[in-house]
Symmetry: C2
Subunit: 351 residues, 2 copies
Amino acid sequence: MSQYWTEIVHQLDPYVPGEQPQDQQYVKLNTNENPYPPSPKVMAAINEYDKGLLKLYPDPDSKKLSAALAQYFDVEVDNIFIGNGSDEVLAHCFQAFLKQSKPLLFPEISYSFYPVYCGLYQINYQTIPLKTDFTIDIDDFSQKNGGIILPNPNAPTSLLLGLEEIEKLCQSTSAVVIIDEAYIDFGGTSAIPLTKKYDNLLVVQTFSKSRSLAGLRLGYAIGHPDLIEGLTRIKNSFNSYPIDSLAQTAALASLNDETYFQQRCAQIIQTRDRLCAKLSDLEFKVCDSSANFVFAEHRTEPAAQLYQALKQAGVLVRYFNKPGIDNFLRITVGTESEIDSLIAKLRDLLP
Amino acid sequence: MSQYWTEIVHQLDPYVPGEQPQDQQYVKLNTNENPYPPSPKVMAAINEYDKGLLKLYPDPDSKKLSAALAQYFDVEVDNIFIGNGSDEVLAHCFQAFLKQSKPLLFPEISYSFYPVYCGLYQINYQTIPLKTDFTIDIDDFSQKNGGIILPNPNAPTSLLLGLEEIEKLCQSTSAVVIIDEAYIDFGGTSAIPLTKKYDNLLVVQTFSKSRSLAGLRLGYAIGHPDLIEGLTRIKNSFNSYPIDSLAQTAALASLNDETYFQQRCAQIIQTRDRLCAKLSDLEFKVCDSSANFVFAEHRTEPAAQLYQALKQAGVLVRYFNKPGIDNFLRITVGTESEIDSLIAKLRDLLP
């Protein structure tokens, strides 16, 4: 509390990210990071980059990276907006499109940063309840709204919506629909091609998960040039140079190694399937995941206790003390051996 | 223009950064970059960093870097806020402290991003005219205000205020005073020690200029823990992980090479003095610079034409087409040989 804060600062209820312990070595399955390093091409690109050039400002428009993303996704450069992680891209989206007289809609169980952005920008919102199995009924979004945002696959439930449902959403509203595809590469189908058909559709993706670059902060949005221009106007009123030169270089290299990308995604999907089977054996109910994490509830043991016991045993998973999901654990799909450690610890802990 | 934009996006008048040409080789004296590369320790730190770790999110609190900055400036860790370039830090400052019922005050000629932030956050502001020689009279800020912000040295004038004047400012208002010290290392004295005396004083600095790290995007604010907490609340409602792992690593290495830092600053000051003398010889009136740039007006030739002619001759300088300064050029202090090129071109161009 301070007399110097603006009214908004007093009201904020900031987002709390998953723990990033800097000291102890954990089996870290709590923040949906990729267990594999980025492509060797990324490492080479950073090593080969002339660090003397860091004296210069980065390209404020990330032109080379935009061009590479445009080619990769078969869209135009003016369909691309790049930000300092998809969290920054989302923040700009909330400010650029979602503060409207009618309420913003998003699922009641969803990325917990959405209500935080609403607090920051004073956006009126309404959450849409999920069904008891956590599935989303698109028809529930058929009410007056000033925008719709949802992650697909949803977080932390890991459940996927099909493209026909995304299309229905786009048709159902005259406002902007934002699909937050942070986890789409682990089994889903991206709605990016639909942005050519629906000028109110914006798709947000990130280099953090499937491309193992959480440490470099790169996200992007793809949609109609008018939407991209809205984001660019916000960005150029906030920070002209959000993406540093090494991040631009590394991201470009990552896009140029499709084989590595596909192999790592396939490996994570395979490990996920094994993890789900093992958890079922241990009497967990596991949601049908299309992400690099699973969302699971034990039939008898409370999640809060399991979270604490696992932490003490050196395994970090994510626990949300929130109504409706407070008996679930969100477990990131690690390497095969990390998953083996988790399962072994659970075997010890469970009755 | 788009039906999907919020009201605020329509109203924005975004900042226009200096040109960052990606194609032609210019003698680039237009964006106040350091002409020297970052410390060899920075380069080594980036090369030695285990790029496999980029799969992990960065430390959201930049704890090691905060601790190093705290030690460097003889303050505590809770006096430090770190952001993605000082532009991001400033943006958060405007949202955290400067939207008040009374108007924000800043100099009429100043960093042109300030009115842009005011547009973004709908902040009521009033500009304070400078004297005809561009000096700031602190007494002119003695009016009802909801905050004061100014760069010291001022940009683009390059003129410095002394610490006794900064103290007067802090005493003159019950609101926050922000001193934007992007250029302080080129001859000024930082107000950071005054933050221990005045809990309404916040000092903002950057790694972009004196530490040759514009390409990595690092800025910070130093002040009372309550002010830092206000910034942190905004940051954690906007983007939890704004500073990537390589930037944290590089900045830390830069702080650990004081000798290099001091040598480069001294070299730039020496070159600046030579540049000023040469410009005077060529019939420019040059402001008394405490920055890594000079602000100069030719006695006969219009600045707009000189800017264009220099650009055609391969030398980029900054020209602001704004009332009061539209006959001035802002020229970054480059290397000795870059300054020689500039002077040679000017000799050719001038009558």
